[in-house]
Symmetry: C2
Subunit: 336 residues, 2 copies
DNA sequence: TTGAAAGCGATACCAT
DNA sequence: ATGGTATCGCTTTCAA
């Protein structure tokens, strides 16, 4: 692969001049510029971004840490960051973190070594302390889907509790009286927060969520199916079901219908996340929209901004997003 | 951010020694090694991957070009490459190409500038000539989902025609006699090849695919719905429907059922791709599995291999994958 | 076992 | 308008 020196030699100019041509620098003679260009073409010259990063101290990359690309939720997250990268002529460096704290840390370290200009990190396993330490050392680092008070100006997150409350209000407004709930068995605290918001608001509204009608399962379709079977087995009446996420909700619906329970005729079901799936299901799922792509864009822009500005952490900003109710077909008014 | 010099200075050794410690080099005194390590810790030293890439001439990155991350198909592709990257202690550099030839080329160029060690490129817009030229210049470049004879040892692709044939055989084996088809209106040639394989095989089997029962639409759920409406409007009988992809197939099913046509009772529907969706739909979709993640892994490994080996292009290898029929619930035997 | 120094491929400042 | 050169942070001989 040819270098700037090769181009300079063939074109009969200095590397300084070639550099100017590459970067559309000022003051280059028209003839010279043309000649250099044609040599670049001829040699198939491509500037070396690593060398450039070394001297300019900017890598024009944004790093993203997510557990896994195949989850559409994280793919949307990455996509949001990619949009910002494109808009700034930068590129996405992806670091998947799988499930352990160790690999989350390693994923971040790899990005650090690349000297990314900005970092959007989704971490559930690292401790608050580890992340605070990191955030302090790295200006352009922003956490997404995590709320840490000490560095809240570097956290972009969703108000999960409010999501639970919105669901409660929605079902209440449909005159439901008997509630049930399916949650995730993984304690990464989102499930608990959502459920808590839901239960509290229900109480506020004068209802009651029976503890034995709250089932935890794997947060996927099959988990939803299993949890629903357990729910049905309780033989206690319920007409409104709040489910941890859309995949589980779809599983729940299919099990309900397999048992002759109509949705939303007999039971209203509400999911969470508003992933693609929810629009394809039948009945189409009522759910809470999680604007992850928008949040990711915001996080990326914030990270980029922080990198340039020194410590603006005096800022009192709070980057909380609210889930939005998307009424589709799986919830309806209660019929006695 | 501290550099190797800082570490050397504080530790009272030369940068050469620090370098040896970083890379677990041989011949370093135990005391020295320990001291250097502790200084690295103390200073929060992180080696600069760009500088390292410059001198070693390897970036330990694999570049991927895909149109868009939000399409689960491409997310799976990227995930396959990421697996290989992880396995080799490398990282994923992502370059999204959107839709135009220009931006596809630009996406590739950006990766070239980064001096990725390997490249997995999904390109539908660039010409054969452009890609051949590229493949010749860049040893570690492999095309995925594209078949170009001149560089077939650098192409990993799926036999779409065979997919069509498999679908035809499946529906024939279920005693169907009247066929219809929904295809994509975008001529990136996959649709035509699939359809062609389907129609040809049908003819082989003594059937006939009426041209007016072949409808083209947008390759998404809504497109599937619209096409199905048009199909129904023809008022010609059909009991077997081959659809370009799963999203369209799910749209087709919902429109059929909205019109009182049961799936698979009245009409059998078969999709293509086997994306997540197909397992969540009701009835669960019979489809053709497109092993894109596996193909992507293969492509990445091939790219890595080619980078090391010089020109092994004399190799007569052919990297064709076959789609696999996944029977679920949307197809059934024809009932008169 | 350790250090000095060349060099990777660019940029940018200082001359001319 | 153009060239010379120090420099970015690191690896890697070659000497000591």
């Amino acid at each position: 692969m040819s270098t700037i020196k090769d181009v300079a030699r063939v074109a009969g100019v200095s590397i300084a001049t070639v550099s100017r041509v590459i970067n559309n620098g000022p003051k280059v003679g028209d003839k010279t510029r043309a000649r250099v260009f044609s040599v670049m073409q001829e040699l198939g010259y491509t500037p070396n971004a690593n060398a450039r990063a070394l001297v300019t101290q900017t890598s024009t990359t944004i790093g993203v840490v997510i557990p896994d690309l195949t989850d559409p939720f994280f793919a949307s997250l990455a996509n949001g960051v990619d949009k910002v990268a494109r808009a700034n002529n930068m590129q996405l460096l992806l670091s998947t973190s799988l499930l352990t704290a160790e690999s989350e840390m390693q994923a971040i370290n790899l990005l650090l070594e690349r000297r990314c200009d900005a970092f959007v990190v989704h971490s559930k396993k690292l401790t608050d302390e580890q992340l605070i330490d990191l955030a302090q050392r790295v200006p352009g680092l922003v956490l997404i889907d995590r709320q840490i008070e000490a560095i809240k100006h570097k956290c972009v997150w969703l108000d999960n509790a409010e999501g639970g409350r919105i669901a409660a209000r929605h079902l209440d407004s449909l005159q439901h009286e008997n509630f049930a709930c399916i949650t995730s068995k993984y304690q990464i605290d989102d499930p608990a927060v959502r459920l808590n918001g839901f239960a509290k608001e229900l109480t506020q509204l004068g209802h009651h969520l029976p503890t034995d009608l709250t089932i935890a399962a794997e947060p996927n379709q099959q988990g939803g199916e299993i949890a629903t079977q357990q729910l049905i087995a309780k033989k206690k009446p319920f007409s409104a079901l709040f489910v941890y996420n859309d995949a589980m909700a779809i599983g729940a619906i299919s099990t309900l219908e397999d048992n002759g329970i109509r949705v939303p005729g007999d039971v209203s079901v509400i999911g969470f996340d508003d992933v693609l799936l929810s629009r394809y299901s039948r009945p189409k799922l009522t759910t809470l929209n999680y604007p992850i792509e928008e949040m990711a864009q915001h996080a990326a822009e914030l990270a980029l901004f922080n990198r340039d500005k020194p410590n603006t952490q005096a800022s009192n900003d709070n980057f909380i997003y609210l889930p939005r109710l998307v009424k589709r077909e799986s919830t309806a008014a209660y019929r006695k």
